[in-house]
């Protein structure tokens, strides 16, 4: 083995001598292993975790709500057995919505605690029964039980009044209707009503009653807003009012369509079926919209059906009386009442009782007087046109009545057409608009009429009579007489020109609501069927959903929170009922009427950002819907307008460029302005579909606005060039003609501007110089510090070099000793080799000797057997034997020594490996 070990040893030693980095590598691997081990122990410390905190009370202990904060659902179910009505409030203690709803539940509980059992259950704690059995996707969840019926989940608004109302309906799902007047009350409600007739005199509980009762509960489950109300009649005479004769019949009341009786012969009389039948056949004249707050398509689905009238009113579901709601209901009924013969139904008369007759007559009065004062209105075909007006401050309007006269020409047939021909009025309007400037400056309080011929037909001519009226005309019904006092009718011939300066488009008129001046005295009865612009009517509780009203332009401060708007999603417009008028039936009717007529006088409402104060000085002028015209068109300056939105990243990163621009441009001839178009609507022609958009309105030619080209990057030089390019015309021409003095004046103004600009520049440069000086000083300081540092480093370098030399010397010495050692090692190896050879020889000798001994012994034995004498011989051989054995033991000892040394050599080699 020694033979093999030694040569293997040598190359490794030399290898290591040649590549010391291998040693390092090994060391690093070892280190890493150690580190890993360390990390493992460290990460054991990192594995410190903590279980969730134990649940604690969610409701206070004094609360009427039983708080099972360990989620004991089994206990809750036990509790349920003792109470008729139970409300479960499943919550998670970390949930914001649960925390917010807690107060509301407590409020309801304090009012109903004597009749309803309120149990709150922590359904989050993972050791609790509730968590193990129930799986909710959100919290809180409210379940109601009416005895064994349930759970009925409440999904309405988390507001105490709504919850209480719902709980009350679960308590009494059926309303007992004892008399005729109560029946009328019940049926006149805007929400659909289902009446069951059950005679209780025959048996303690007439057949089917329980099913009917359950179906009422069932409907609460399906229709959590609780729009279908269930009533029960026990008196035969009362039942006859709605032509129910048999006990057990069920009646669904409808206002606009015929009411229905449950078809027992077709459908089985089960709770589900009744409920389904009522839901399918109910009539929705006017609907509450109650978005639940999560992702929903509710408004999308409803508004996609067509134009919608959204009415916002504050609503308390617990209140006994809702006078405003009744009034709105009446309007809705009228609007949907297409077939007059149906008016014979009893409930409608009942509603009629609540009318204020005085009001009605005043309305007809208005129309009467109006037709009196407007002499032209006897013409067969007229339309009212409101002339657009830019001054939003002005309280007056120019109103024209446009009538078609066909006195000339041949009429092809004699059939009298009561209504206007659409085409005729349209043609008249076209002609009228072309002449419109004639009517702009109308002297107020007189009616001025002119006749002009149609451009399309020589046989007809139109008459237009115009006058100026006060804006909030309808709201001052009383004063209306004074407006129309002694109107002087003065015909003027076509072509009489007034001031024709303004030629302004029509749509952008920014006046809220123009009262109805429609001559046709039709009321809205059945309007929904007559017009092709049918409105769907919706109610929203302004306590909960006022934000939608604000979005449509309701002012934040309005009180009470009442608001009405017509939203037409398809046309992307909405109209708003003037907020200065109170929301009552007649105004609502007028609003609907105005929407429905051809050439509606309603103006698209433009929402204006109210948060921006009217005239606050900024470097960049902030424009709103209200100030748009004034800032852009009325000012005598060049205007650069940026359309932006706060959320648009590409806009916000341009802020600094526009600020710089505004600071550079001479402020007396340039305005740099911007408008946030998400918060400020603009007339269609000024809308833009991309943001940012930059428009330039050169002064004196405001109508010729130019758009900054989109494919150029927006930076200061480009913007300046853009402005120069488009404002150049105005300032370069005028000095050639005209008086010299004015010219000189202009020149001096311009130069003064330049001078002030240069002065500003100089100031800037001065500050720049001082900044440079500062920077210079700073640099100098840094430089000197650096020099000092350098010196210090040089010194260090010297010392380091010295140290380096010493080290080099050391290393040389070490190398020498290393070589020496290496030599010694080699010598040792050689010696060892020799030793090994010697031992080999010895071994061989040993073997030979053994053979010799055995052969001798064999011989001796054979001799013994043959000859016993020759004792002297024997002793001699014995001596020989002893000497031999000592020799072998000595040899053996040597060998073992030898192996030992080889072993040690080996192991040391291993270690170095």
């Amino acid at each position: 083995p020694g033979d093999a070990a030694a040569p293997r040893l040598r190359p490794r030693a030399t290898l290591m001598a040649r590549r010391p980095e291998l040693l390092c590598g090994a060391a690093i691997v070892l280190c890493c292993a150690f580190l890993v081990a360390l990390k493992v122990t460290c990460s054991r410390a990192k594995d410190v975790t903590m279980p969730a905190k134990l649940p604690v009370n969610f409701f206070s202990t004094r609360s009427p709500v039983i708080d099972l904060f360990r989620g004991q659902l089994d206990y809750a179910d036990q509790l349920r057995q003792d109470s008729e009505i139970v409300l479960y409030f499943f919550y998670a203690p970390w949930c914001g919505q649960s925390i917010a709803a807690r107060e509301e539940i407590e409020h309801v509980a304090s009012r109903l605690s004597d009749q309803v059992l309120f149990v709150a259950i922590n359904c989050w704690w993972n050791q609790g029964k509730c968590r193990k059995q129930k799986h909710f996707f959100y919290f809180p969840v409210i379940h109601l039980y009416h005895q064994s019926f349930g759970p009925i989940e409440y999904k309405g608004p988390m507001s105490a009044v709504y919850i209480e109302k719902f709980v009350r309906r679960v308590m009494t799902p059926l309303l007992y209707i004892s008399s005729r007047s109560k029946l009328l009350d019940f049926l006149s409600n805007y929400e659909p009503g289902v009446v069951g007739f059950f005679e209780f005199n025959a048996s303690p509980q007439p057949p089917g009653y329980l099913t009917f009762f359950t179906s009422a509960l069932h409907s609460l489950k399906k229709d959590y807003l609780g729009t279908i109300r269930f009533g029960v009649v026990t008196d035969k005479r009362v039942a006859e009012e709605i032509s129910l004769v048999h006990s057990g019949s069920v009646y669904l009341h409808r206002h606009a369509n015929t009411s229905l009786i449950y078809p027992e012969d077709i459908m089985n009389f089960t709770a589900e079926n009744i409920c389904k039948w009522a839901l399918e056949n109910r009539e929705m004249l006017i609907r509450w919209l109650r978005p639940h707050g999560g992702k929903s398509l509710l408004l999308n689905n409803e508004l996609k059906k067509g134009p919608a009238l959204l009415i916002f009113i504050p609503y308390n579901p617990l209140a006994e009386m809702h006078p405003l709601l009744d009034e709105i209901t009446k309007v809705a009924l009228e609007y949907h009442k297409c077939n007059k013969s149906q008016a014979a139904e009893p409930d409608l008369q009942h509603i009629g009782d609540s009318d204020s007759p005085a009001f009605d007559s005043s309305i007809t009065d208005t129309h009467l007087k109006f037709s009196e004062t407007f002499p032209i209105s006897k013409y067969p075909c007229c339309n009212t046109v409101v002339l657009p007006q830019w001054h939003s401050i002005s309280r007056t309007h120019n109103v024209c009545e446009l009538c078609v006269n066909q006195t000339l020409g041949v009429k092809p047939n004699k059939v009298h057409v009561p209504h206007c021909n659409f085409l005729e009025i349209e043609a008249a309007l076209d002609s009228f608009y072309l002449q419109e400037h004639t009517f702009f400056q109308v002297i107020s309080n007189t009616i001025e009429c002119s006749n002009f011929f149609s451009f399309y037909s020589p046989f007809s001519y139109y008459t237009a009579c115009c006058r100026t009226v006060n804006r909030h005309f309808l709201s001052f019904i009383g004063s209306e007489k004074t407006i129309f006092q002694t109107p002087k009718v003065a015909f003027s011939s076509h072509g009489k020109k007034g001031n024709t300066q303004f030629s302004i488009p029509h749509i952008e008129d920014r006046n809220c609501f123009i009262p109805d001046l429609n001559i046709s005295s039709t009321n809205i009865t059945g309007l929904s069927c007559k017009t092709n612009k049918t409105l769907n009517l919706y109610l929203l509780d302004s306590n909960l959903f006022w934000i939608y009203a604000e979005r449509l332009g309701a002012s934040r401060s309005t009180h009470p929170k009442e608001f009405a708007a017509i939203v037409d999603l398809e046309e992307e417009v909405h109209y708003v009922l003037d907020q200065n008028q109170s929301l009552v039936g007649p105004t609502l009717e007028d609003f609907i009427k105005n929407f429905s007529v051809l050439y509606s006088p309603l103006k698209r409402h433009l929402v204006n950002d109210p948060s921006i104060p009217f005239h606050e000085e900024h470097v960049v002028t902030e424009v709103t819907t209200n100030t748009f015209h004034e800032t852009v068109f009325l000012s005598a300056k060049n205007v650069l307008l940026l359309y932006y939105a706060q959320w648009c990243g590409f806009c916000a990163s341009l802020n600094h460029i526009f600020i710089q621009l505004a600071r550079l441009l001479p402020p007396d001839s340039f305005t740099v302005a911007r408008i946030d178009v998400t918060r400020n609507d603009l007339p269609w022609e000024f809308m833009t579909d991309r943001l940012p958009t930059i428009l330039f309105f050169p002064h004196q030619r405001k109508e010729q606005s130019v758009k900054f080209p989109e494919d150029f990057s927006v930076n200061l030089p480009n913007l300046l060039k853009f402005i120069l390019l488009h404002s150049s015309l105005s300032s370069s021409e005028p000095c050639n003609q005209g008086p010299v003095k004015e010219c000189l004046h202009k020149e001096s103004v311009l130069q003064q501007g330049h001078i002030s600009h240069l002065e500003r520049e100089i100031q800037k440069l001065r500050s720049e110089i001082s900044a440079l000086h500062q920077a210079h000083d700073q640099l100098e300081a840094q430089l000197s510090e650096a020099r000092r540092e350098e010196q210090r480093l040089q010194q260090q370098k010297h010392t380091l070099e010295k140290q380096h030399k010493i080290l080099q010397f050391h290393s040389e010495q070490l190398k020498a000793t290393y070589d020496q050692k290496n030599q010694e090692l080699l010598e040792m190896a050689e010696k060892l080799q020799e030793l090994a050879d010697a031992s080999e020889n010895l071994l061989k000798e040993n073997a030979l000797l053994r053979i010799l001994v055995t052969s001798r012994e064999g011989k001796l034995q054979s001799k013994d057997e043959i000859k016993e004498p020759l004792q002297s011989d024997q002793t001699l051989s014995e001596d020989n034997d002893i000497s031999l054995s000592t020799a072998t033991t000595a040899l053996e000892e040597k060998r073992i020594d030898n192996i030992d040394t080889i072993d040690t050599e080996h192991s040391s080699g291993n270690r170095t490996e």
């Binding site: 398509l297 306590n543 449509l552 579909d689």
Partner: protein, 563 residues
């Protein structure tokens, strides 16, 4: 559809309005609770361990939480502490250390944190030197840290390694596999550095890495999760918008905004199209195979929740809101967002149930609240405050939630909790914060390079929520040339006769004149641009204005497109 089944109850509280001011104060208290315990028990380690009340180094050894929380201090209005920390950092932080650091994390947390602190330091009342914002101690530190990362970019493809030794550069034998986000998340910080210091090397490497990724996208226009930076082979081929990819897309948009760069934007728009085509289902974004487009994982990841915020920046507010509302339902189910959420099963994914107090959903809420003022977004803020306080608050800070199913806590508080989660929550509840400046306020700073308008709003948050003022990029380099040009033009305004004809300079492909090195690549971008321009001729650097129905798209209401 999934969400329709899960009607959340009620909106009563929303309508009545949250007490925004009180929540703002609660967020502030949360910040100081965590911050003070970090200083007390963990500083100068990187992070606080809230359960054991001690510190540990996680991403290096540079007092990471302190650097990360620095600008949050100023946003909370604490200028004096900001000043103190600036001094501490200047003395205490050393990047000459033998530490293997993640290139990505060091960039977004350290470089980003130092850059934003540098740009905010004047506002915080720190005495700045004359060359500010083009020089300053914090900028020098940021530059030093960034230089330590540069060796990682020396690969055949230009895509960086994931890890670098701050002292020795890339370790021999370092794995060449890097996640996509680790390659494409540099442009915001590095371009800012280049603009401020004048050394273009940072922006160049960042752009080169972005282009390499763009070149290696699949035929259907998607990128995978991990790529070999030496051979440019995709190692993980899951394509999605979440972990491993997220901030790549984010930085394409933010880079485009910051640098007014059409090329970056056109890249993003192409990706956006592919993402919509292949990964979007019912307003969720799933994971698909990058070459085939087949769904590989129907999960929602907590990290994906940044997407709505990003969409709002480019004007896709409708879609953003719809996706946000989906994500919000997950929060409502657990009181946090699990790392993975299996959408069809409606539950967490095994081993991925944790919620390390990540900011992404709150970040989106903040952006969307800016755009819509929808109270639902404040509700999320309320839920986040309540959840984090109830679940993860411990004596020494706020602990990571290890398992959202039982709310077990882990002994860690990541530095992004103070840098991002708290910051975005506070900004959500503080609509008048200077960070929301819409350009009505600004500062004028005189630098040796000329006068400069700063702090005019439009801050770009890097992916670790460190704000960068885009105006600062125009203060240093190239400032002089532009000023002379402007001066010339202004002279024209006052002269009587206009002599010159003005032609507008066409916008260069990207801001910094660096010519497209890879011609094939550039042409493919151009082709993309052309395809875009065929459809609509509008500029890439613009948002669509909001539709009419967006007026009513609040309180959870969403509208379907007419098409």
């Amino acid at each position: 559809c999934l969400w329709a089944l899960r009607l959340p109850a009620g909106s009563g509280a929303a309508a009545r309005g949250l007490d925004v001011a009180s929540y703002r104060e609660r967020v502030r208290a949360m910040f100081y609770h965590a911050y003070e315990h970090y200083l007390e028990s963990a500083f100068p380690y990187d992070e606080l361990r809230p359960l054991t009340c001690d510190g540990q180094d996680t991403w290096g050894s540079f007092s990471l939480t302190l650097i990360d929380a620095l600008d949050t201090l100023l946003i909370l209005g604490n200028a004096s502490e900001f000043q103190r920390v600036v001094n501490v950092l200047q003395e205490g932080v050393d990047f000459d250390i033998d530490v293997n650091a993640s290139v990505f994390e060091t960039n977004i947390r350290v470089v980003g944190g130092l850059l934003s602190a540098h740009l905010l330091s004047r506002k915080a009342g720190v005495e700045v030197e004359a060359g500010w914002p083009c020089s300053g101690p914090l900028l020098r530190m940021a530059e030093e840290a960034a230089r330590k990362l540069l060796p990682a970019f020396q690969t055949p493809t230009g895509m960086p390694y994931g890890t670098v030794n701050l002292l020795h550069g890339v370790n021999p034998g370092e794995t060449p596999v890097t996640c996509t986000a680790g390659i494409g998340t540099f442009i915001v910080e590095f371009a800012t550095l280049s603009h401020l210091t004048g050394d273009p090397v940072f922006e160049d490497v960042a752009r080169k890495a972005l282009k390499a990724l763009w070149k290696n996208r699949s035929d259907i226009g998607l990128v995978g999760n991990h790529i070999d930076v030496v051979t440019a082979k995709w190692v993980a081929q899951d394509a999605g918008i979440g972990a491993g990819v997220d901030s790549y897309f984010e930085y394409l948009v933010k880079g485009a905004i910051l640098l007014q760069d059409k090329e970056l934007m056109s890249m993003f728009l192409e990706y956006n199209k592919a993402i919509k085509n292949y990964t979007k289902f019912d307003d969720w974004y799933l994971w698909v195979q990058m070459y085939k487009g087949t769904v590989s994982m129907p999960v929602f990841q907590s990290l994906e929740a940044y997407w709505p915020g990003l969409q709002s920046l480019i004007g896709d507010v409708d879609n953003a809101m719809r996706t946000f509302l989906n994500y919000y339902t997950v929060w409502k189910q657990f009181g946090g967002l699990p790392e993975f959420y299996n959408i069809p099963q409606g539950y967490t994914v095994d081993k991925r149930e944790g919620y390390p107090l990540r900011p992404e959903l709150i970040e989106s809420a903040m952006y969307l609240y800016r755009a819509t003022r929808d109270p639902t977004l404040l509700e999320l803020g309320r839920d986040a405050v309540e959840s984090i306080e109830k679940i993860s608050k411990v004596d020494c800070g706020f602990a990571t939630i290890k398992d959202l199913r039982d709310h077990r806590l882990d002994n860690r508080m990541e530095s992004f909790f103070l840098a991002e989660t708290i910051k975005y929550l506070y900004l959500l509840f503080d609509p008048d914060n200077f960070m929301h400046n819409d350009g009505s306020d600004f500062d004028v700073v005189v630098t040796p390079y000329g006068e400069c308008v700063l702090n005019a709003g439009g801050y770009i948050f890097n992916t670790e929520a460190h704000p960068i003022d885009p105006a600062a990029l125009h203060c240093c380099r190239k400032r002089k040339e532009e000023q002379w040009e402007v001066e010339d033009l202004l002279r024209e305004f006052y002269s009587r006769k206009k002599t010159k004809k003005f032609t507008l300079k066409r916008a260069p492909d990207h801001g910094e004149g660096e010519n497209a090195k890879d011609s094939e690549d550039a042409s493919s971008v151009k082709a993309g641009e052309k395809r875009n321009s065929k459809k609509s001729s509008h500029s890439l650097l613009s948002c669509p204005s909001q539709s009419f129905n967006s007026k009513l798209a609040v309180l959870g209401q969403v509208f379907l497109d007419n098409t």
